[in-house]
């Protein structure tokens, strides 16, 4: 299964967050990791794309007062998603072998 960079970031965040993975926490995780802002548009369209590929499953969570009584969209990674993320990671590791990146030239 071919993954894009953002899809990999999302799968990894969802795997790391486990039961607590939903829109806000995934977004914070990605922003912390990349140092770049993550828009709601990018977040939810990617979640939907991953779900259509069978890499994640989503469900509606319970409403909470801090969300104004609105529900969360809970996300969890599927075995297929874990395998795709693992393959992506291995490919990055293989292609990076022997390459020494320096911050400045």
């Amino acid at each position: 299964m071919q993954l894009g960079e953002f899809e990999y970031l999302m799968l990894t965040s969802v795997a790391r967050l486990g039961e607590g993975a939903y829109g806000v926490t995934i977004r914070e995780e990605i922003e912390d990791a990349t140092g770049r802002p993550c828009s709601l548009g990018a977040l939810y369209t990617t979640i939907e794309r991953l779900e259509s590929k069978g890499l994640v499953k989503t469900s509606m969570g319970d409403p909470t007062p801090q969300r104004g009584g609105r529900p969360k969209r809970m996300v969890r990674i599927t075995p297929k998603g874990a395998q795709a993320a693992s393959e992506f990671y291995n490919a990055v590791m293989r292609v990076s072998r022997g390459v020494a990146w320096s911050a400045s030239k």
Binding site: V24, L40, T64, Q66, R67, G68, R70
Partner: protein, 296 residues
């Protein structure tokens, strides 16, 4: 604490725009914005971004393009020409009667017939505009539910600006009088707003709902609409001919707007009636489905 006007406006826009999302997604997104205590400006940017992405995906399907090519542009343009022409003509007659009205018009058979003919014509035109627009809106809502409000907006734009850059033959130009303004500017806009765009939005709202239409009243309404279409068909064609799209042809007698004028645009009534036919077929299919379900 008083909330600034711009903030309230932004949240109002967030609320309106988020209605273009699915119900579940709207609730989730609004919940995310509340949980992150996102400001109004950023909240608006976030929702606009999501809506644009969602709409971009939906516009990769054939349905919204079909709607655009079969309803929004052709019928929107025809309605634009018809409302300009009929608004101006009706306004001219109404203003003349308004200024010179005398009840003796009803006592003299010839004058009475003129008044009745005018009332029937204006009534038929209004009925046809509302019927065509409602059925168009219904098609927009039923065929492409998730892009319905952007397509209704495009429909409104075509109706309001479709005649831009064209003039009506014989219309007095450059006359600054109030009467001219009311008849040739205000009335067409009134027709476009209240007899076209609002009924179309109502039809779109109804078409988006899954509930069925009652077959009997639907058949009756479509028959009435077909009758009104028949009565105003020549007026519809003339609105284009004298609106600058097709040059007028007086026919063998040499006089414009007489019975022998050729009608190269005779098929336009069928174009206007196809959404009505769609509404009828939809109601009949739903009725058939309900009967089949009951029989099982």
């Amino acid at each position: 604490m008083k909330v600034p006007v711009m903030t309230r406006l932004c949240w109002w826009m967030v609320d309106g725009l988020s209605r273009l999302l699915d119900d579940d997604e709207r609730e989730v997104v609004r919940g995310d914005l509340a949980e992150c205590r996102t400001g109004a400006g950023r909240g608006l940017r976030e929702v606009v971004g999501l809506v644009v992405r969602r709409q971009a995906v939906l516009w990769c399907e054939w349905r919204p393009w079909f709607i655009l090519a079969s309803v929004v542009i052709p019928i929107g343009l025809l309605l634009s020409y018809a409302t300009r022409s009929w608004g101006g003509t009706s306004g001219t007659y109404i203003s003349i009667y308004w200024r010179f009205w005398d009840f003796s018009y009803l006592a003299v058979p010839g004058w009475r017939r003129d008044v009745i003919d005018l009332a029937v014509r204006i009534g038929s035109e209004c009925l046809a505009l509302v019927g065509w627009s409602w059925t168009c809106g219904f098609v927009l809502g039923r065929v492409s539910r998730r892009t319905v409000w952007p397509t209704v907006l495009m429909f409104a734009v075509v109706v309001f600006f479709g005649t831009m850059g064209t003039v009506v033959a014989g219309e007095p130009r450059g006359n600054p009088s109030l009467q001219y303004h009311v008849v040739f500017v205000v009335l067409p806009r009134f027709f476009r707003t209240f007899l076209v765009v609002l009924p179309a939005a109502w039809g779109a709202y109804r078409g988006r709902q899954a509930s069925s239409l009652p077959l009997g009243p639907t058949v009756l309404a479509v028959v009435v609409l077909a009758g009104a279409t028949f009565l105003v068909s020549q007026g519809l064609e003339r609105s284009l001919v004298f609106g600058g799209l097709v040059p007028p042809d007086p026919g063998p007698d040499g006089f414009l707007v007489s019975a022998d004028d050729p009608r190269p645009l005779w098929f336009l009534s069928f174009v206007m009636m196809w959404p009505g036919a769609y509404v009828l077929v939809t109601a009949a299919r739903q009725r058939l489905r309900e009967r089949t379900a009951v029989a099982r």
